[in-house]
């Protein structure tokens, strides 16, 4: 059985399912039981599972991360949520010095740290420098952390359940613009393996590797190019940023010889750069043209909507990059029109300001 639901309902469903299966799963974070329920993702959980297992917290991100670690060492599986990734930056000490290293620094005798940290990446309506940072590459850089970043509602549920029951610390990244994505989501204890990418489109002309919200823009571009000039691309949605599904990526590049990597973060030292480096070392001979990474230019997010317009990469940019790599001429006007005048909101469902 499955039900049509939004990404945020799928998160809610996964949390509820996990708490049903295992009484050791607890959920907390600023605003978790409040009337908005973290964009709907935690609505009703406190009513269902009680205030001992679902609770609000003080504005103490670093301490509450260490507290999650401590509880997890004694069998609790905490799921902690932050309405913006940026707020969690106060907790880098506990995350990296403790959570990531715990298993290693006691020679494997210290037990594991099965915590899940949900981080929401903001975009649009002037989120600006401190409410929209997409720092998955930081987390993915650190050995001992897993980093998961679903694009679709079904993946969100399957991957969140696997993250919660994984024995390592997992950063679970949710792009704010995906919360309304709707599809059929399986009922019950539905899990997807961590570390496995998904192939959303298949083709032999070019490999597009993408993540999180950029995959939505990629789908528009790839479908348009297919319709207009019969270009066929592989579209690999990473889903997991650490570990990365290298086999799927390398196999695809061996097949197509062309690689475009899309990243929601900044360009320099990006995950996109790492993917290109890895492919260059593993299948250099397959490349028919230089690989391309498409990420944000290396500067903080501006607030003014006049400035974000050229800051973020959209379907038309993806289409243009693909066309250039394949040496084809095509009008991208229809792709440019996709977003309409209000480029700084994901759709009518998004009622600013947050």
């Amino acid at each position: 059985m499955s039900h049509s639901m939004t990404f945020s309902q799928a998160i809610n469903d996964a949390l509820s399912t996990a708490m049903h299966i295992d009484k050791n799963v607890i959920c907390y974070g600023l605003g978790t039981p409040d009337p908005k329920g973290i964009f709907g993702t935690s609505l009703g959980l406190q009513e269902k599972f009680g205030p001992e297992r679902v609770f609000d917290m003080p504005c103490s991100e670093n301490g509450m991360t260490g507290i999650a670690i401590g509880a997890s060492l004694n069998g609790i599986r905490p799921v902690m949520t932050h309405q913006r990734l940026d707020f969690f930056l106060l907790a880098m000490d506990q995350l990296i010095n403790n959570a990531a290293n715990w298993k290693y620094m006691f020679g494997g005798n210290g037990g594991s740290v099965p915590i899940t940290i949900r981080l929401i990446i903001g975009r649009g309506w002037g989120q600006g420098p401190t409410h929209s940072q997409s720092l998955h590459s930081w987390f993915a850089h650190v050995p001992g952390l897993k980093v998961v970043s679903p694009t679709t509602a079904k993946d969100a549920k399957g991957l969140l359940l696997s993250s919660i029951f994984d024995d390592d610390p997992v950063l679970f990244l949710e792009h704010r613009w995906l919360h309304n994505h709707t599809e059929e989501v399986p009922e019950g204890d539905f899990r997807l393996p961590l570390g496995k990418a998904s192939l959303l489109r298949e083709g032999s002309d070019l490999s597009v590797v993408s993540m999180s919200y950029m995959t939505v823009e990629a789908i528009h571009a790839i479908d348009y190019l297919h319709k207009e000039c019969n270009v066929n691309c592989d579209l690999i949605d990473l889903r997991s940023i650490n570990p990365i599904d290298w086999k799927t990526i390398v196999d695809s590049v061996r097949k197509t010889g062309r690689l475009l990597v899309l990243d929601t973060g900044w360009e320099t030292l990006s995950v996109a750069g790492e993917i290109i480096a890895r492919c260059a070392t593993e299948c250099f001979d397959s490349f028919k043209c230089p690989p391309v990474r498409m990420a944000l230019q290396d500067c903080p997010t501006p607030t003014s909507c006049a400035l974000t317009k050229n800051y973020y990469k959209e379907a038309a940019d993806v289409g243009q990059a693909i066309a250039k790599m394949l040496n084809i001429e095509i009008s991208l006007e229809p792709l440019k029109q996709l977003r309409g005048i209000n480029h700084d909101v994901p759709g009518d469902w998004f009622k600013g300001p947050f």
Binding site: P35, S60, L89, L90, G126, P129, T130, C299, P353, F354
Partner: protein, 326 residues
Amino acid sequence: MTVDKKTALELYSKMLLIRFCEESIAARYHSEKKMRCPTHLSTGQEAVPAAAGQALRSDDFVVSTHRSHGHYLGKGGDLNRMIAEIHGKKSGCSRGWGGSMHLIDRSVGFVGSTAIVAGTIPVGVGLGLSIKLKKTDQVSCVFLGDAATEEGVFYESVNFAVVKQLPVLFICENNLYSVYSHLKVRQPEGRSIASMVQGMGCSAVSGNGNDVAESYEKISTAVASIRNGNGPVFLEFATYRWREHCGPDFDNHIGYRSEEEFKEWKKKDPVEAFENKLLLDNVIDKSMIDELKSMTQALVDNAFELADRDEFPDFYDNSVFKEVIR
């Protein structure tokens, strides 16, 4: 009347400016859709910012939070540049790069407000350290909300300010909420923030943050003591935000607080209370009030008009960023 007439009028004018500015933003936010950034209004909390702005000198430093319009205006920050900033326009005080949550006007000592809770507390203490090193008699004032006292960096910063006896004034506006979370789910019931800070060795006083005269007196006393080299002071003022945490609407119906509670606090409207007091004490008459109000509204309306006519900043260009950062 405990404050002199001139001061009283200035306090009243500052409160009016903050109130009219915030309420004009609220009235236009959804209908115009031109202020496209998260915006935290200070309506209901005008007294403390007005009092602090009045008690501090313009060469004293202020740092603030996500809810900083009042602090900025109280300190004398440029109204037009703030409204332009919220509109993402070129003449904005942060060039449109920062928005409502990132205000600055260094010409009046407003060093900056940022959006990460407690983020500017150590910065304000660092400004205090610089004042001590440079041996001037300035004061560094740190605005914070009740929730900021839950962050580790708050304790680290207060501790250092006490150890080094720095010229820092901490002003905590306790409005009972952090977004939709009441104080009681975040801090032990019955423990006052001020007495906790007192326990850290910092002189601490609490007061009624909806009474602008009382706030002014308490802040002035603290500022004088700090200027005299007696070390940091922490002030906790009880107050209440009227509108939703972020955005222009009222949200008492969604269930995190009651309409009754809101109404109780609305009865303690800091602007109206002071206005009545001024009338009663014959400091001001009805016609002067009307005149002040229409003058203030005209200033605010003009700021919106200027912001609307102003250009947007140039399309984002990395070289511009590098030029500023270098």
